[in-house]
């Protein structure tokens, strides 16, 4: 069989944000890369750069990664100003170098948001997301309390919508892509997932008000409907979830009897 993408080496110029620590001053540094295989993933290209830096006795570039198959949400990077790079529905770890051309200059930055402070180079602190989930992104059910799994039917359409929201990988691209550094797509994904299911209904008002309050406290901005978040989201979480979040919030503060 033929290989549609023949191997060819790219020569690239990388401009990478280097920052030794959270409080240190950062700067862009330029690195030349030769003969980069188009079959490499973007992170494998950075692995090769780091090996070259170590061989020269320089400190490697710090960047977060783990599963390298687009699901753990650990990798990040603004690539030429775009969260997770140019491809739709693709995390940085799944972005492959065949997307780039010989001679390209690639600018690589950490997520941009004051709620995601830089730890080092390209690695940022996203613990704010954990604190938002802690504020209410769950169903209050103890182990052992569950009824039979089929006792509450869930229409397929609802289940699909819930799943589409639950697909969020918590990477923070939505925040990084938003001019307001808003976390509303992230928050709306969890609120929607649970509000759409009967299991999530009893505490839906408490959940949405507490999660939104925590989101505000962390310093994320509000949504002004530019939809950059949806465009950047590797899990294709839709902005219709933000509309649902707004409805859930309104319902909670205006008509809910949960006593929020």
């Amino acid at each position: 069989m033929t290989t549609p993408h023949a191997h060819r080496g790219l020569n690239l110029t990388l401009k990478i944000w280097r920052q030794p620590g959270p409080n240190a001053r950062g700067e862009f540094r330029t690195y030349e890369m030769q003969n980069v295989s188009t079959d490499m993933s973007f992170l494998e290209m950075l692995d090769v750069l780091n090996e070259q830096l170590i061989a020269k006795g320089e400190e490697p570039v710090a960047f977060d990664y783990d599963c390298r198959e687009g699901i753990c949400g650990m990798c990040s990077l603004m690539i030429n100003g775009q969260a997770h790079g140019p491809d739709r529905a693709t995390t940085t770890c799944q972005l492959h170098m065949r997307r780039f051309s010989d001679g390209d200059t690639i600018v690589i930055e950490p997520w941009r948001a004051s709620a995601f402070p830089v730890i080092r180079d390209l690695a940022v602190d996203r613990s704010a997301f954990d604190r938002i989930i802690t504020a209410g992104g769950y169903v209050s059910v103890n182990t052992g309390n569950a009824q039979d799994a089929n006792c509450l039917p869930v229409g397929r359409d609802r289940q699909e919508k819930s799943m589409a929201a639950a697909a969020c990988i918590g990477c923070g691209a939505c925040v990084a892509a938003c001019k307001n550094a808003s976390a509303m797509l992230f928050v709306s994904a969890k609120v929607s997932q649970l509000a759409l299911l009967p299991q999530g209904v009893p505490e839906r008002a408490r959940r949405v008000t507490r999660m939104v309050a925590q989101m505000d406290k962390e310093g994320f901005g509000g949504c002004t409907n530019t939809y950059e978040c949806e465009a950047a989201c590797p899990a294709e979480v839709s902005v219709t979830n933000i509309a649902r979040l707004n409805r859930e919030y309104l319902r909670a503060v205006v008509v809910s009897e949960e006593g929020v």
Binding site: M1, P4, A55, P60, G73, H96, R126, T134, A146, R156
Partner: protein, 655 residues
Amino acid sequence: MAEGHATTTQGSPRLQSNAPTGDVTTRWDRHKFDLKLVNPANKRKFNIIVVGTGLAGSSAAASLAELGYNVKAFCFQDSPRRAHSIAAQGGINATKNYCNDGDSVWRLFYDTVKGGDFRARESNVYRLASVSTNIVDQCVSQGVPFQRDYGGLLANRSFGGAQVSRTFYARGQTGQQLLLGAYSALMRQVDLGKVKMFARREMLDLIQVDGVARGIVVRNLITGEFESHTADAVLLCTGGYGNVFYLSTNAKGCNVTAAWRCHKRGAFFANPCFTQIHPTCIPVSGDHQSKLTLMSESLRNDGRVWVPKNPGEARPANEIPDDDRDYFLERRYAAFGNLVPRDVASRAAKKACDEGFGVGETKLAVYLDFRDTIKRDGAAVVKGKYGNLFQMYAKITGEDPYSTPMRIYPAVHYTMGGLWVDYNLQTTIPGLYCLGEANFSDHGANRLGASALMQGLADGYFVIPYTIGHHFATSKLPKITDDHPEVRGAVEAAKARVNKLLGIKGSRSVESFHRALGKIMWEKCGMARNEAGLKFAEQEIAALRNEFWSNVRVMGSGEAFNQNLERAGRVADFLEFGELLVHDALTREESCGGHFREEHQTEDNEAKRNDADFCHAAAWEYTGGHDSFVGQKEQLHKEPLTFENVHLTTRSYRE
């Protein structure tokens, strides 16, 4: 193979399984009744450390906190939600029999014992099968959006090694949804103040006082600070060791360090040679490769595996007519076809490639073809079932699997071996428990698909909450403070090791050592193993380890965020552990499940077990010094395995 051979193995007195005897269906109930309890008010007096926040760790931490215990949970990632359970695709087994196809607890028990090639403990497997239904109930109640039918009830699909449909799934991202469910339960306990979460911490050592596990030493990966944490019990939920092969489907961060440090402190390591090679992975594309990506086993429900009949075949896949295709799984295994267990499918693919029938540029691949299913059901149906997997394949290879068959090749995926645990999930160190993939207990020599999620959650939600109380109720656990000599000693030892790594200042990178180790492991101890190769590997690994400790180059300092240093510590441990894995493979003179010794095969190349001599779990005790590693200091202990309910027979998936 003779059937029903009684084992001649002498059990080691050091390995008390504490598994009940008698009627297998009531063992767990009787055992739970016999365990001592801690009353609700006293539970808040006990502190538990949970290391790792995958399915086993998150579910255990949440469930124990719900009971009233004080829990500290640790993970090396930036959030507990990132643990690699998240990448599991296909599904989770439960014997609900919602499909009305004859499923039962007994059938799952039978399938799992047989699928594991008779190298797991019957008591454990029966318990696992019997709590499987509770797990699915629990997950649904947490808001896990499993796939449903139009009537609103749950859907199922089938998986390898089974002839019923018992697998529950959420698209091709079931692990993600189950982990996020467990993570939400965990974060709820953080909110309630019962769990303290410590992310970006790596466990570097175990603290023992009077032989009992009482805490851990961790390094704060952001600041580089060493911290000691003390408790009344420690739970390792730290996953498998597949990355000893460098290339695997594991996340890059997955490592054996926590388990290995505990092994060197006295926890026996069981069956390390039982490693699972998954048949459906995307083939290696070049030397830059950093990991391998799995394509869910569920694809084998509808995809057909084949190679060209002509070894020199030059036509594109779609132009090769059926007469010139060898659907080798369907041909060799009529009864199970493309759904044979993973070890069987992997070896068959390797055999096809070894004989020169491989496809693609490297010739190390076979086709997984959806042509017939697309013709039968339409592309839309296939997209609905496998859309995200097809998309993933297209992203990585640049090819469209709807129009061209996928190329797949086996890759290291899961490790059945792990720390030896008794029926209570306690290791040979009192107070140290091990859950999920990190232990050895339930899958024998081969794990069936959709059973890893089941085991991780079974251990965390439905086993450890019952068994850990017995330890608290029956042990004297005097209060320990951070200035206890054992605590300070463990911290100093961990610091010294990190400083040693930083002080070598050699010329070869950590990554290069890891790749070299992986190459040895894959070539000599991968899908097929033989005595000469294994002996060679033992020497090679020891030599590589010596070079590592004299020539590794670790950049940066210990007082900062330093990923190079993190990796160096993990690779150092893999370089010790790899030798034990190879030694175990050398010692086990039989083929079973994922462990295939070329000397032990039938005429038609199937695995040939030796029940007379090897119907046991091999548990290794390290008797050398903690600061260095000497392979010869590993002493073997055997736990005989008895099969009273599923009779020892040769596994056959042919008829």
